[in-house]
Amino acid sequence: MNSNKPRDEFLIPLQLTWSPGPLTAESVSYPQSEDIKVGPDTLSVFTGKIVLVTKFRAGSEASALPATVTGKLHYQACNNQMCFRPVTVDVRLPVVIQ
């Protein structure tokens, strides 16, 4: 699927976003993408298993309890013959704030 920084402005990037909650997402780090050729174009893509790293910050008001952080992962996948419609999936991350 497209990486978080596709080379064409019209392509839909992979994007992980987090909702306001017990933790505040400060940054999301994406892995190194691969370049592949499709026809005359070069695409920036992710394949197989990838790791996304999110740095969270707990506010002073956060209580030391189990909590759940929620977010959304938006992505769009193709091969060199066809593309599938963009998809958004909900993400739930149970955390323990200490």
Binding site: M1, D8, F10, L11, I12, L16, L23, I36, K37, V38, G39, D41, L43, V45, F46, T47, G48, K49, I50, V51, L52, V53, T54, K55, F56, A58, P66, G71, L73, Y75, Q76, A77, C78, N79, N80, Q81, M82, C83, F84, R85, P86, V87, V89, V91, R92, L93, P94, V95, V96, I97, Q98
Partner: protein, 223 residues
């Protein structure tokens, strides 16, 4: 980001493994998740030999479901108004790389065969609408009609779950070939277009049937 449903993570910065292979996408073969330059999957998907590309006997052709959609100027295009022409009905989107590869072919076909009765209609499935479509078609110098599609029209054509998906319609408004799901070869389009342009116009009492649903997936509708 943690695995969905995993045990609680301590707050130290959260590292999560995203296994793209386990994400719930559409029901399609696993190999289609991986972008490959060549693969066995790609060789078989939408692979049709010259023999298989022969048009369906006229008596077996189903009417193309009628619809009305708007172009960038707000002008309505009703499919049944194109009766008498050979129509290439192409579902596409600005975010679809394979779709971009065939647009120059359609531009060429429009130039070469419009005077002989060909009409190319691009149905964009862009959820961002004209904001995304207009600059794209301008940059590509698209010379044929582009209208903004929706899920309802996609459902009329068996559910357009992947792009590009293209239907070739004869002068009587009937689906003359199995649909192209994915990117075919240029000559495949050309052969089908030329076959239909050469067909004599036959009096046919069957008109476009408005809102007729094609059964099942688009790819299975004409097996």
């Amino acid at each position: 980001m943690g695995d969905l449903g995993s045990a609680p993570q301590r707050y130290t910065g959260v590292r999560g493994t995203l296994d793209l292979r386990r994400l719930r996408l559409f029901a399609f073969p696993l190999c289609l998740l991986t972008l490959l330059a060549t693969s066995a999957c790609n060789k078989t998907s939408n692979a049709r030999t010259e023999a298989q590309a022969q048009s369906k006997p006229t008596g077996e052709r189903k009417p193309a479901p009628d619809f009305t959609l708007q172009d960038a100027n707000g002008t309505s295009l009703k499919l049944s108004d194109l009766r008498g022409k050979v129509v290439v009905l192409n579902f596409w989107a600005t975010w679809c790389g394979p779709c971009a590869l065939e647009i120059p072919w359609f531009i060429e076909f429009e130039q070469q065969y419009k005077s002989k009765g060909l009409e190319i209609v691009g149905i964009s499935m862009d959820e961002d609408g004209w904001k995304a479509i207009k600059p794209y078609v301008a940059a590509k110098k698209v010379n044929y009609r582009v209208v903004l599609g929706n899920d309802s029209v996609g459902q009329l054509y068996g559910g357009v779950d992947s792009l590009p998906t293209t239907f070739i319609i004869d002068r009587q408004g009937r689906l003359a070939f199995p649909p192209h799901v994915g990117l075919p070869g240029k000559n495949e389009y050309l052969n089908e277009i030329q076959t239909l342009l050469d067909e004599k116009q036959q009096a046919d009492s069957r008109a476009f049937i408005p809102g007729t649903l094609l059964p099942g997936a688009a790819a299975a509708a004409h097996r």
